[in-house]
Subunit: 193 residues, 2 copies
C-alpha cells in the first residue's frame, strides 16, 4: 500500500484526475533517489536536469554571492516540489545550490521526460500551471514582505507560516532565508519572549 508514488499521486490529484494509464505514463518517468544529509543535488553554475518532489526529509535551495554570503531561496519538505526553475526551464547555468538538510527521499523527473509528458498527457500542462501559479504568488508575497517589513516582522510571520520547517532547520538557515545575519536573528529572538 505504501509505494513511493502514493504521496505524489495524491499531490497530483489535488489539481487533475488521472486514469490508470495516465498514472502509469507518469510514474514510469519518476526516479526514486535517496540522499544523505549534506548531499548536493544541484550545484550553482551547473545545468539543472530535474525537478524534484520531496517524499520525505528536507532540502534547501540557496544562492551564494561573490562575497560567499548565502541566501536561502526556499526549503522543501515532504509533499513539496523543488528545483531551480530558471535553470530547469532554460537549461542554463543554475542560480542556486540544492542540498539535503537531512537524509531524504525524492522523486526526480527530468526535463526531457516532463516535456514528453506534456505531449502524452496534456493535463500535466494544467497541473504544473497550478503548481507554478501558487509558487509565483508565494514569491510575490515574499517580495512584498522583504521590501516593506522589518526583519523582526518577517521572522514572526515565518515561524507562524512554516512551523514544520522551523523545527528542522538551523537558525543560521532561517536567517539566510530572511536575508539577515545569524547574529541579528539571535538578538531578535532574545528580545521577543
Amino acid at each position: 500500500m505504501t509505494s513511493p508514488f502514493d504521496l505524489i499521486l495524491r499531490n497530483v490529484a489535488k489539481h487533475i484526475s488521472l486514469d490508470e494509464k495516465e498514472v502509469a505514463s507518469f510514474t514510469t518517468l519518476l526516479q526514486k533517489v535517496t540522499v544523505s544529509k549534506k548531499d548536493i543535488l544541484l550545484r550553482q553554475g551547473d545545468v539543472c536536469k530535474y525537478i524534484y518532489f520531496v517524499n520525505s526529509g528536507a532540502l534547501r535551495a540557496y544562492y551564494v554571492d561573490k562575497h560567499d554570503k548565502e541566501t536561502t531561496i526556499m526549503f522543501g519538505v515532504a509533499d513539496w516540489w523543488i528545483t531551480d526553475m530558471y535553470s530547469f526551464l532554460n537549461q542554463q547555468s543554475a542560480l542556486m545550490n540544492l542540498e539535503a538538510l537531512e537524509s531524504s527521499e525524492v522523486l526526480e523527473l527530468s526535463k526531457v521526460d516532463l516535456d514528453k509528458l506534456y505531449v502524452e498527457v496534456p493535463k500535466f500542462e494544467r497541473f504544473f500551471r497550478m503548481i507554478i501559479q501558487n509558487a509565483y504568488v508565494r514569491e510575490q508575497v515574499r517580495v512584498i514582505q522583504s521590501l516593506s517589513m522589518t526583519a523582526e516582522e518577517r521572522y514572526t510571520i515565518f515561524i507562524q507560516k512554516y512551523p514544520q520547517i522551523v523545527q528542522r532547520v538551523t537558525q543560521k538557515q532561517i536567517a539566510s532565508y530572511l536575508g539577515i545575519t545569524p547574529e541579528f536573528l539571535s538578538t531578535i529572538r532574545a528580545r521577543k519572549p
Copy 2:
C-alpha cells in the same frame, strides 16, 4: 492591419500556434479598455476579475501597508501581462492596487472566460504556464536581489534591465519598487557619476 489584437497575438505566438478558429475563440473573450492616467483598475481588498494585457501606456501594481507606505510590485508596459495573480486565481481580496501611470490601452480577459478558454483551447494551459513560469523566475531573482544586495546595487541592475520603464516612471515609484525611500534613492543617484 493594426487591430487591437496584433500585439497580443504576436505575444501568444511566441509560445503556441493557433489556427484561425482558435484565434477567434481567443479574441472574442478580450475586451479593449482605455484608461486615463491615475485610473484605478483594481483596488486592494476588492476581488480581481481580470488579467490584463497592455497594448500601450504603462501600469503599476502596488501594495499599501498599514502605515500607508507603498511598495511597487511590478510595472506593466506594452506587451506585458499584469494582474493580482493571487486574487485573480483564488477570487479572494486583492493584495495590491493596479493603476494607470499614463493614458493606456489594455485588453482584459476575465477569470470566467479564461477558465472557459482552457477547456475550449487547451493550448492556453501551456501558454499561461509559460507566462507564469517566467514571471515566477523573475520574482525569485528579485527575492534573491532584495535579500542579498544593497539598494545601490539593486538600483543599478534595475536601470540596466528596464531602461524603457525608467524613462516613464517617477523616482518615487522606482524607490518604492526597490523598497527604499525616495530621499534615499536621491542620495544614491547623487553619489553615482
